[in-house]
Amino acid sequence: MRIVVVGASLGGVRTVQGLRRRGSDAEIVLVGDEPGSPDGVAADRPPLSKGFLADPSAAAPPLVTAAELDALGVRLVSARATDLDLGSRRVALHGGEELAFDALVVATGSSPRLLPELESRAGVFSLRTAADAAAVRTAAHEGARVVVVGGGFIGAELAWTLSRLGHPVTVVEPLPTLMVRGLGSRVGEALTRRHTEAGVDLRLGTAVAGVEGADRVEGVRLVDGTLLPADVVVLGVGTVPETGWLADSGLELRDGVVCDEHLAAVGAEGVYAVGDVARWRAPRSGEDVRVEHWTNAVECAGVVAANLTGTPTVHDPVPYVWTDQLGGKLQVFGRVRPQDELRVVHGDLDGSFVAVSGGDGRLQAVIGFAAVKQLLPYRKLLLAGATWDEALAG
């Protein structure tokens, strides 16, 4: 039995570790091509927009070392997968090697979405890899003016981190509110206000038209003609799943690899997907979802390792995402749906708070800011599948 895991970031690394922990004696091959990493293994990503960026001496070690993989009896192949042939059950690698497999785990993750208006040029960065973060850290010299394009969790966190370092930071976001997809409008609006009060220059409801500067970026032009002078531009406009190498494979692709609730690719025997690249039918909501959170990749890896070692397991998580900004930890459990009702159950939105979001008679999500203790009972209610009335009763 040979298991090939393609992708050596969080989902792939945790899958091979989980397989061995569960006693798998299969031959395991891990294929990695993380850009900027000498052996193709990625670093842990959450610190890259937090402590790593703020501390010039901080390191971003790989998620697993070659020695650790060796000790696990996992063969690491540092190459890019270019093709999958489901008929002959082989993965083709850049350079010509082919890997036969009995089971395959697709863990190729996602890549930063790029904007055609933001042409590549010195000083314009995406933030995905440790090498990206190191480049941003180097470019953001003292006093450098920063424009962050995108006002989601990553953009807002980046803006906070870089403004605390003393940089003048401007955020450009087409929606009228920061982080509105993750937090809903009321909480999003409150935190948007707080970013403004903290000195971040917000340009909301507008978009980038182009980049100024010949060799290096000198500014960002908005669609209304405004020029934002910039020494460093960082994009945080989401990611796209890395499925290009699967285009001709016959796997069903729809903004990710389409999987069932066990994370098994639909219509392909012995093929699974984990992390950002997996789209699956979530039993809890009945919806097809793709989730780009750290915690989801970890949980997917556990599920697939179980499924490959004889313990059929369904992936039905309560999503969790966190971000460090505005001087506190912002935590979201569950999913805030636009149509749901929001109630603040502790504190207020101008300080530390816990808010609950509910709809269809159920508690759907819990949001906490700098209130880990007060969050606890509501998180328990969410895990227990509490009704909306139970949640409001606390």
Binding site: P46, W294, V298, A301, Q331, V372, K373, L376, R379
Partner: protein, 64 residues
Amino acid sequence: MRVSVDLDVCQGHGVCHMSAPDVFELDPDDAHAIVQLDPVPAALEGDARTAVDACPERAITLHP
């Protein structure tokens, strides 16, 4: 199996408590992990491992 939490690293995500509620309680003041069962009973080792994996700060260690 022994278990320990590095409280300098723990950030109070509370994910360990979700994964292994019998092994980890959370400090009511700052949600830092408090180990409840050390050594971990064999029946709860799976839960404890899930918690080790799920900790975003990698603050939990299991020792044979």
